[in-house]
Amino acid sequence: MMHSTNDTANNSCFSIPAIHKFCDPWNRNTSDSQDSSLEAYTDADLAADLNALTFAERQAMEADIHRVNDVIEETPEFVDAQLAKMKEALEKIYIRHRQAWDRAIFLRPSLAGDRGLHLMMLRARRFQPNDAAVLMVAYFQAKRDLFGDDLLIHRITWNDVRTTSLWFVVGSRHLDCLQDILTTPPLYS
C-alpha cells in the first residue's frame, strides 16, 4: 500500500522524473538514492548512454560530430534511384501519419514532384529513403502545427513569423501526433 502511494506521488504532474528514466534506457541504474532529486548530467552518464548504443550507431554519431564521415557521391543515377525509393516509402507511410503531407499535395500538387524538396530531405538523412520519407511527413506536420493550414504550402517568411498568432501548446494533440510520426517505424499502410 505504501509502495503504491509513493508511485502516485512520483507520477504526479508536479514531480520531476527520476534521472534514470532519462539517461538509462535499460534501467540498469536502479539506485534509490538517485530518485530523490534531479542531479547534474555528468560525463559518466554520457558514457553510459553512449554505451547503450550499438557500435554502428556510436560510430555514426562520432563521425557526425567530428565530421569524418564519408561524403556521399551524388551521381545522377544514385540520386534518381533514391528519389524513387523515397517516393515509394512516402506512399507506404500510414495515412493517419501523413495527413499534413497529403493535405499539402492536395493544395499544391506540384509538391509531389518537387525534386529540390525531396532532395533536401534525402540529404538531411544521408540518402536513406525511408528516413527521408519520415522526415518529409514530420516536416509538414510540424509546419502545420506551427503556422497553420494557410502557410502549409508556402514558404515561411519573416512577416509570417512576426504576424502569425497561432498556438503552440506543449502536449497538444498535434505535437503528440508529430511525436507519433517520429517514433513509429514507417512500416506501413
Binding site: D64, F106, L135, A138, H154, W158
Partner: protein, 206 residues
Amino acid sequence: MLGTYDRAGRGVNLIRMAKFDLSNDIHAVARCVWYTLTAVDADYKMHRNRMVSVVDYRGEWKSSPLQFVRLLTAFPFDATPVPMVSLHTLYPTSLKYEILQTIRHALPNDTRLRNRFHRGSPLELDYALRSFGIDLSDHLFQECDRGSSENDEHDESIEEDIRQRQQLDEGWRQSEAPYCKPNSPIAMFPISQDIIMGRSKTVATT
C-alpha cells in the same frame, strides 16, 4: 544563423541565451526558431554538410531556465530539414554551471548524445571550439553583459541579417505573384477566393 561555415563546411547556428527572451510568447519564439532553421533551404552546402549549433549560456538570462526547457522539449528539432549534427554548449566558470547541467536531461536522447560541453574563459572556449573546427572568436569575445554600445552593434548585425532575409522573401514573393491573381491561367495553389473540392470533402480557404 551565422553567415560563415566551420572548417568542415557545416553551417553554424549560434544561440545566445542572454539575447533569448522567452518571457513574452514562447510560441512566437518557436516560430522564429523554425524560421531560422528552415530559411536556409536554398543553401546547398548546408544541406550537404548540415549544421552545428552553439548555445552560449554566458551572461544574464532574460527568461527562466524552465521556459527554455519547455521550448527544448516541445520544439520539433527532428523535423527540420537541416539537421543539427552536433550541439556545443558554452558555460561560464561559475556555480551556475552545476545548475545548468540539469538542462541536459530535458534534451531529446539523440541531441543529448551529440552534445558537448565546454567551460571556462572565452579563450579556453575558443580553443575548445576550434578543436571541433568551429571558429567563433569574433563572437566569443563579445561579452554579453558588457556595455550597451556592443549590444547595439550586435543588434545591428541581427537587423542586417533580417534585412537580407526579407530581400530573399521578397524575391520569392515576386516569383509566386503571378499565381496569386484570381484571373491567373495557371492554378498553382488555392487563393483566398477559391473553394476547394476534393474527394468526398469540401474545404473552403479563408
